[in-house]
Symmetry: C2
Subunit: 234 residues, 2 copies
């Protein structure tokens, strides 16, 4: 939305002043005038960086969204799309993990102010849409490709937010990057149960594994015949 | 949120008047005073049914959320939790499908008004949370139960919204209930690939099926020994 520089000393000063005031007197009780006065800058400087008071609460998302789009756009056709969206999502977690104090302060603020919670939902939706757009392109020639893209994007975001919320609730304890890797691996295992690419029949031919499913009361000679014919295909 | 009766002639009249005005002059240009005047009722009547102007745009969600909670609470321990959340989600689609004209009008409105889009995101989040709460209880004793619950809830909601959005974009053409059944089946197949319950080890013991996975170069005698020991467990 904003095309103003994402990082600058004045922008940082505005964010710091805003959070100081939000914590001291509450979000609703703080005006943009209070923020610029504390930061020692003019009112127009605020709006140069932030379209509204809500935006100063989430100062890094525009840049993170732009980075995610770039990262996905730089993807090669040979990249596993599921791995790619998981890596892109991990970068969002890194943004939170890089600044635990700020992340936890903001989390507490969003718990208290309904308007910020809905704002946050719209940010989450934009990440999900960015991942979904990429997956839709990558799954374009698959059966139910669009459905699959939307469901996978939602699952990836849910796994990320599962870890993020629990880390923020704990006050920023532990290693959220290790946790998000575990959670994203859960999602990857869901769609690629036997490892990367295993779901794709084109790859399956290369695998050195035979699976036999039989009823418990099948005579052994029939099982052996079935196994021999499967092994013989190799 | 609201505990006022979900269905009443006056409530219906307020919704009808509101949508008439939203379509005629736009959402932002319509005040609550305009709505009550057109409906021929007093201002207090409006707020008896709707906390705000935004709420009149989504008059059925509170009831649908309450119904979903009831439906899930009435679930038996023997119900497949994935089937249960899919059935609960299908009921939300039925609410939209029962009134295509209204659903499409509202969709067009939410495309135009940012505030309504974020309101809608918060409604979607409440459905997801309701499904997630239920799944968290059902998956409580599973490894990664909470993560699994959150991811599955997000996937179910994404599948529903995938069908809903495409139906609304088409202007309400086709059979969204048949489509949502297909999309929800995709989600069920994701977690229960070999049919209901196959994923759950507790159920697997009852099944009359043996699965053997072996490397292609395994000698047959080892395969037979493995099969015999598996069959012998029965």
């Amino acid at each position: 939305m904003s095309t103003s520089p994402a990082k600058s000393p004045m922008r940082d000063a505005l964010v710091a002043a805003a959070f100081q005031l939000f914590l001291e007197r509450g979000y609703e009780q703080t005006t943009v005038d209070d923020i610029v006065k504390t930061a020692g800058v003019g009112r127009r400087s605020f709006f140069r960086y932030f379209p509204s008071k809500e935006d100063v609460v989430f100062p890094d998302h525009e840049q993170a969204l732009a980075q995610m789009q770039e990262f996905l756009a730089a993807s090669a056709d040979t990249d596993d799309p599921l791995v790619r969206v998981c890596d892109a999502t991990r970068q969002v977690m890194r943004m939170y993990a890089d600044n635990p104090t700020f992340s936890v302060q903001r989390y507490r603020l969003t718990r208290e102010v309904t308007g910020l919670r809905t704002y946050e939902l719209s940010v989450v939706w934009r990440y999900e849409k960015t991942l979904g757009d990429y997956l839709r392109t990558r799954f374009a020639d698959r059966r139910d490709g669009t459905l699959r893209a939307n469901v996978v994007a939602a699952a990836v975001v849910a796994a990320h937010n599962h870890v993020l919320r629990s880390w923020l609730r704990s006050g920023g304890q532990g290693d959220p990057l290790a946790e998000v890797d575990r959670a994203l691996q859960f999602v990857r295992d869901t769609w690629n149960p036997a490892g990367a690419g295993a779901e794709d029949p084109a790859d399956r031919a290369d695998e050195d594994v035979v699976v036999v499913i039989t009823r418990r009361n099948t005579p052994m000679w029939r099982v052996v015949r079935e196994m021999e014919s499967s092994l013989g295909d190799g």
